[in-house]
Symmetry: C2
Subunit: 333 residues, 2 copies
Amino acid sequence: MSSSREIRLAARPQGEPKPSDFELAEVELPDPGPGELLVSNTFMSVDPYMRGRMNDMRSYVQPFEIGQPLDGGAVGEVIASEDERFAPGTHVLHQLGWRERAIVPADGARPIDPELAPASAYLGVLGMPGLTAYVGLLDIAGLRDGDIVFVSGAAGAVGSLVGQIAKVRGSRVIGSAGSAEKVAFIRDELGFDAAFDYHDGEVRALLAEAAPDGVDVYFDNVGGDHLEAALALMRQSGRIALCGAVSIYNATDPPPGPRTLPAAIGKRLTLRGFIVSDHFDRFPDFVRDVGGWLREGRIRYRETVVEGIENAPEAFIGLLRGENTGKMVVKLA
Amino acid sequence: MSSSREIRLAARPQGEPKPSDFELAEVELPDPGPGELLVSNTFMSVDPYMRGRMNDMRSYVQPFEIGQPLDGGAVGEVIASEDERFAPGTHVLHQLGWRERAIVPADGARPIDPELAPASAYLGVLGMPGLTAYVGLLDIAGLRDGDIVFVSGAAGAVGSLVGQIAKVRGSRVIGSAGSAEKVAFIRDELGFDAAFDYHDGEVRALLAEAAPDGVDVYFDNVGGDHLEAALALMRQSGRIALCGAVSIYNATDPPPGPRTLPAAIGKRLTLRGFIVSDHFDRFPDFVRDVGGWLREGRIRYRETVVEGIENAPEAFIGLLRGENTGKMVVKLA
């Protein structure tokens, strides 16, 4: 027996989630059965896609259930093991976040190397957000030599890597973010060629100024005005990777779509939506490339760390408000 | 010297074109010079894309100029030739429509075989609209065995062929059109599996009823509500060929885009715009396939024929109102 605390969904959020939509609960965990591990989580992830799972809607993942614990990416240390592949003391990545300790099926755990990078990096730059950036830019948008690349949410976990991979590949890169501090981060620390704070005016005018020659590839994390602006400024045969629409995740009624979509005809544009879990076959290439660029110092990352399971709901709410720079994680131990 | 009548752009239309936006003019044509042909046009084409060229906007084709004759696809008979490749009496397809006679550069003319199909068919099912349907369905949308196909503007020159090619390939096909008569035409004469008149209710509800299992491929000729509805009803990994947006061609301010576009992420949809002139390399395949299906009686077509150059503006205005079934052409001789 082992005690843990976990965050449960108390109510389905209407619009922006409130603290009362979540509840903290104490639970007693059984000992792990055959093929199971008891894991003490060190970090858990909060990600924008989780907002969709809080609605009672069919989607590409099952909705969360009221009264049940949330889940998502987490890293931790194996405390007790009933699977010979995992010795106690092994650090693992798994999907039972939003709790301090978890009984994890060994088949759902993957060992990580905390010597190569801090454990939390496996939730960000070396994890699912990193693979999202890699696949979205290279496979979905099909980055070509000489492309001008625009990425929204550029100071976030995915966007900050999209821009840096494009820079490694020799592209001119433009990013948008939600504060002057984030703009300084992506331009001065990450080496973006141009960046703007989307609060500083109309996105279309800001993008036209930052990308006077237009855009070949747009990596869309936010939807809304950004997608409308990008469509207007895309060059012939441009490609848009539709990755997220955080600008509308909290919308109770879907807002109108981009007025500029008909431009996709004359400009021969391709817009392609994708879900990273379809692309796990690219994980070895991703780790080789991004891991290598990290070691060489060609790619950097930043994290926003919130402490304590009890503050996980606030971390998630803050993530949707854009309060993070780089990957938002919750430190649990 | 040879006299002709032609239609010129008198004013750039604001919203729906009016007869006063056009003017009929009499002209005297010079004799053809070296490498030129004098052609007496028998039929000219009116096509939705011409509306865009009447605006003073950069696009994938040059805008029409005020005071100058319009142009577009036409078929006619060579009356006098200064190019050895074309004997008088040859029937040709060329781009100097909107006039009774024209001095045509021989390099811009292509011989047609009026024994294989009536000359007007080379403006429709065997011409640019036909190639648009073929390339859009097979190459852009990448039709696969078993796909459920939805096409809007389904009684038009492009849409009616899209649906029939899909039927030849074994798909279930749903079409939408703008009148009960057109719905009967595509269902009873062309063999569509289901069809609806989009005036009969909300497009989304009508499509949901006609396509209870959803849609794998949407061939979009109209944009607007149709695109919004299709996005909502697309199946996983569906593909949308963005061919036209006739619902907004007359709009003075661009209307809002589809609220359902974010569904493209979770459903891994691809939306791809295209212009047929990029795909002329497919012409031989198209003629082989569609010409063959026509001879075998597996594909049918219908035309709406308006008589006389003086009625060409009314034909074009009617086309944008959906007054045609099948290809709208103007008979000139």
